[in-house]
Point group: none
Chain length 230, copies 4
DNA sequence: GATGAATGAGGCTTCATTCAT
DNA sequence: CATGAATGAAGCCTCATTCAT
């Protein structure tokens, strides 16, 4: 196929790898957009390749199933989210504030980025949610806080489940254009962790600055492309 | 038309309606079983008719889409659930206890009835969940309790969302055979409603008697059939 | 089924035959209406039985296929048409006038009876057309006129074909709400029969009185029912 | 993307387009054959794909409905017909002769090509008929001739309707193996246009040379294939 | 005779997957 | 590697027909 093209093997390989990486990225981005619009079950391979502007056969050079590309999309989103949310959380603050700030930052990202909102709301726990983020970026955080007496005892799995499923409910409401009392949700999660009603409400009400995505953020770029095509 | 022979038409009509009702019920039961195994998106009409032992065409005499039969199944389950859970809840007890008992009864039903467990866990909020039950059998219950000062202020939609999505998480864990601390979940919900940590734990730990399904319960019968075929 | 109804055999039989005849008629009428709306290929047995208000099974007591009921409908229409058009044609007039009056009366019936119009236009040569009428009510009319020198020689089959297919074209235009120069069509047919241009135009322009359907005309009654349901 | 290997993409594209065009043609040809045998309403997609020897899915890569492939078939037939009939008509002859020659050539093509005959007869006005041909290849021809006094006044739509429906009647007779007096039909059409009986008969009787299909005519090829399979 | 529930063959459409170029 | 034509399995839906009551 590249016969007759007089490049060195090295060069071809390098070029190839770059190109390969780029095509893969294009497919991921395209998939995020399509999943955001149609959810997992409404999406077929054709939607993705058309959005990506590649041929059907190319898809199979990178992924085997539509679920595979969802996995890849999750990884991409994780990378972006970690960058965004980490900045919003001051690691010197008490655990309750860190949870509150993290949750609110996560929801704020979704509020400001329609693409991410629809993706997360539509895919639910198949998306990359806040509890995933927490588990991976601050492992052991909750149990340490419990041991330290900052939170009251609760099975770690349960609190993750409740934060994840609760956050998804919130996002789904936001997606549908309903008014959502985010502070009330955050306060509820803090009470689950053992804070008093008053403390939960107070901390949930603390001002939080919105996360600023980097200029070259894939999420930002994809959101722009996608919003334009809506 | 059959004037002069006044009974034959009635008789024929009665027979027809009985048969019709029976087939519809069969389809509903079959649908519950199939949904329990494969969820909504994994289920196709063929699965249902094969499980019900009727022809494909018969399905269309009763329903138009697979979603329609899911709606019908939900109605059936609601009927059964109301009967089961109502018995477990003493209406004279304080609101917190009623919530705690209701939640635990709901989860207990699922624990004892594998079919219902898988149906609910697999369908998530497309199933007939605890918050549906609460909303329909005791409308206004939560807001009254908030007004009465038994619970602390929280948007009603939020508490329903959290109970529903939380309960589904619990059921999903149970379905996967994981150990679940149901009392901890119930206590968490009570804290969301504003109870103190100690009160939440105490009430969640009160003994609750398991709901006893009636002998002719569709759920019981279907569960038996289904478990046998597993 | 009629056991216990103490009628004499004769009476039952007579009643039965009357009822039988009435049901058959109902099916025919219903079929005409449905064919008028959907044509032959768009019509299924269910449409007919629903329009007739009888059960699906009853259909099979009278007809085997949808084409059979069309045949029956044709017979009904023929009966009605013969009554209507015959009155409009004075048998003492010269052949050219008789043809002209007959054609115009036929088209006029369709113009005044939307049901018949749509039926004829939609079914085309599967309907009961003017040439059928001519062949059956005045056999040999054209060839006699040719022999008598009133018309010029032309194969009889050809003139029937042209009148039939031409009339259907006209009806189709009428059905679509287009303006149609009926006199021009009639004149064209007269020229086909050998009349000069001037004679053809003159005769086609003679005033013709619209056929008056009998009060108890099935076509009238069915048209009313049908128009009401449009 | 393939910038350094400028020929490979072009080559692939060319190959692809060739293949694509060939398959499309196969489907069209197959459709013509099937329509010729079964008419529009008797034909289903499966018949076409089986005749074409392609898979069911392939059909949908080219057409959406059976009507779409009929449209395509019509275009193919038009192309062929224009070539064939144009040759038979001397544009310097008087309008009446041009009409007469055109009609006779059209019918002659059908007489010599069983496939085209059955296609046209079976599809009627859904086929590509003589009046279509006339309208598209010589627009305004009739009205000019009327203005020039060569034909007598008649609504243009009417003359097209009569030529189309009349020609179809003729073809239907031919298809059924009946003897047809084509000259009489042509003469009748000329009289419709205002010619005298004698002139109409004389012009209709002029000798006309049979149209000669090109060697690579799709119609010829398809007719051979089809006749062999009858 | 009338009824309408049940049937299943037949046609439609989508879409994951393969493969020659 | 990329392409996109071809494939056919799998679902969907309609409707003529049968049959017990």
């Amino acid at each position: 196929m590249t016969k007759g093209c007089p490049n060195s093997l090295d060069h071809r390989t390098r070029i190839g790898q770059t190109r390969r990486e780029k095509t893969r990225e294009r497919l991921c981005e395209a998939a995020i957009m399509v999943f955001a619009e149609r959810g997992l079950n409404g999406t077929v391979i054709d939607h993705v390749v058309r959005q990506a502007g590649v041929s059907r056969g190319t898809f199979y050079n990178y992924f085997d199933t539509i679920e595979d590309v969802l996995d890849a999309a999750r990884v991409v989103l994780k990378r972006e989210l970690v960058l965004l949310v980490k900045d919003s959380v001051d690691f010197d603050r008490p655990p309750a504030e860190r949870v509150a700030f993290g949750l609110r930052a996560f929801i704020e990202v979704a509020r400001q980025n329609k693409l991410f909102l629809e993706f997360s709301a539509r895919l639910g726990h198949q998306s990359y949610s806040f509890s995933n983020l927490l588990k991976e970026t601050a492992p052991g955080f909750v149990s340490s806080a419990i041991e330290a007496g900052e939170f009251r005892p609760i099975p770690e799995g349960l609190i993750f489940d409740l934060m994840e499923s609760g956050a998804i409910s919130v996002l789904r409401r936001l997606m549908n254009g309903e008014a959502v009392d985010v502070a009330a949700f955050v306060a509820a999660m803090l009470r689950v962790l053992g804070l008093s009603y008053e403390a939960s409400v107070a901390i949930a009400a603390l001002p939080v600055e919105a996360p600023q995505p980097a200029e070259d953020s894939l999420l930002l770029r994809a959101n722009a492309t996608w919003s334009a095509s809506q």
